[in-house]
Symmetry: C2
Subunit: 275 residues, 2 copies
């Protein structure tokens, strides 16, 4: 690559997709760490959730999501959804010739860095847990680490209902986390983009000695590392950064609920047609 | 219609679609009442749920579901999903030249027949409640009836988690039903195909004096009435009845969870491609 192609390359967008709104927590970390970067986000809100669906279906949806973002001239693709990362990352890496980053490996790396007891718990959707993707990633970094897993299907609907800090959620979380807590882990991976909103509730159950790790910050670090390595970091001013948002279902609900995930700066979203 | 066309018409299938597995409760009532009828069921499990999605999206999905069933040479179409009935029934009736039955009107009729106080509560998904379809149907049957509504987004995930009779579900149900209970209704419409599985939990909260009405049985009666009127009731033997099941996501989960809704007789399902 020469300077001219890199200059135009740097202005290109970072593409981020998710099954719905949860991936906004990952986008938020990327824009915090790299405020000058132009970004385009796609939430597949017409087909959400991915967490209870089969590998075959999640893989097909992920390729469609990625194709949509690639048409926006992106320089890097982030699979912000844990289930999509678990089921479709290999396929996406083969299919596209730009760097593709999932959230599983960054999360696994952060968890291995945090554990002292070499015991890590992982919670996520049915699909993410069934795929064993976190366990495989953790073992490949450090085979000495033991993992303890639990699917928590009610966490996403509870967060979407706005009950993240509700006593009912605490009761449900206690039940889901009972075995993992009993196993003596000192680190717990919040393996779904909705779960960081439950940090308070989960933290109260697990206790202060257990580190809660989510993938968002370490995924943002990975994005920065790859763009730096390739000379593709944008050098424009943060004030000029483009933020595009697309959803496959009506933007209305996305904008309302999405603010809980992204904070300010989510003012408009356009309807995208993938099928 | 002459005798010959009616004879071949009688052998045709009854098509039933739903966003996923819940519509099996409606299919079960139809096959109980009309055991000789040939049936084909489609669960759109790759895009479930419909209840939190927009009218525009639910309408588009419903037309695709109906088109799939119409290709199976059906004599009557049942929209077993409450949200699809609320948002898409008019469109489906216009689009297809066979009788199309939703679950809202039969449910409304059963509720109006049951109430003495002329006060009816309605619970359902966000979409069904937002559409006001039940209230409109109830008012058109008897304008003197007052309605009290509540969306209960956590009920579907709780049932799918297998916690229908769990104490956590009882706590959540108490909260959802508090206002409706206080309003003095004597009849409550279970306006979502998953909710009949919560009858025990909801009944314990509402008390014995409140009638719980679901649409399944009265929708089956409506199917019988229309087929009888048109001379299209199948006169074959129940033992020969064809039962076809299709789903848009992997059949595995559908078969496991579906048995809670349909009981025995759900042994196989095929993958359907709509898009």
């Amino acid at each position: 690559m020469n300077d001219i192609s890199n200059k135009s390359g740097r202005k290109k967008l970072i593409g981020v997709f998710d099954s719905g709104i949860g991936g906004l927590t990952v986008l938020r970390e990327i824009t915090r760490l790299l405020p000058s970067e132009n970004t385009v986000y796609l939430g597949d809100t017409a087909r959400v959730p991915y967490g209870s669906k089969s590998k075959q279906t999640v893989e097909r949806y992920s390729v469609e999501d990625a194709n949509f973002l690639v048409r926006h001239n992106i320089k890097l693709l982030v699979t912000a959804c844990n289930t999509a990362s678990a089921y479709a990352l290999t396929r996406l890496k083969n299919e596209f010739d730009i760097p593709v980053i999932g959230v599983i490996e960054p999360g696994a790396r952060a968890a291995v860095a945090a554990t002292i007891a070499n015991k890590i718990g992982v919670i996520g959707t049915e699909g993410t847990i069934k795929s064993s993707a976190y366990c495989a990633a953790i073992k490949s970094i450090n085979p000495a680490v033991s993992t303890f897993v639990k699917a928590c299907p009610l966490f996403v609907p509870l967060v979407e209902e706005g009950w993240a800090n509700d006593e009912v959620t605490a009761v449900i979380a206690s039940r889901y986390l009972e075995d993992i807590k009993g196993s003596g882990v000192d680190t717990l991976v919040l393996g779904c983009t909705h779960y960081p909103l439950l940090k308070e509730t989960i933290g109260a159950i697990m206790g202060k000695s257990v580190a809660l790790v989510d993938s968002a910050a370490s995924t943002a670090n990975e994005v920065k590392r790859i763009l730096t390595d390739r000379g593709l970091l944008n050098d424009g001013s943060p004030g000029e950064a483009v933020r595009k948002f697309f959803v496959t279902d009506s933007p209305e609900r996305f904008l309302t609920v999405g603010r809980r995930f992204f904070g300010d700066g989510l003012d408009q979203a356009e309807l995208a047609f993938l099928e």
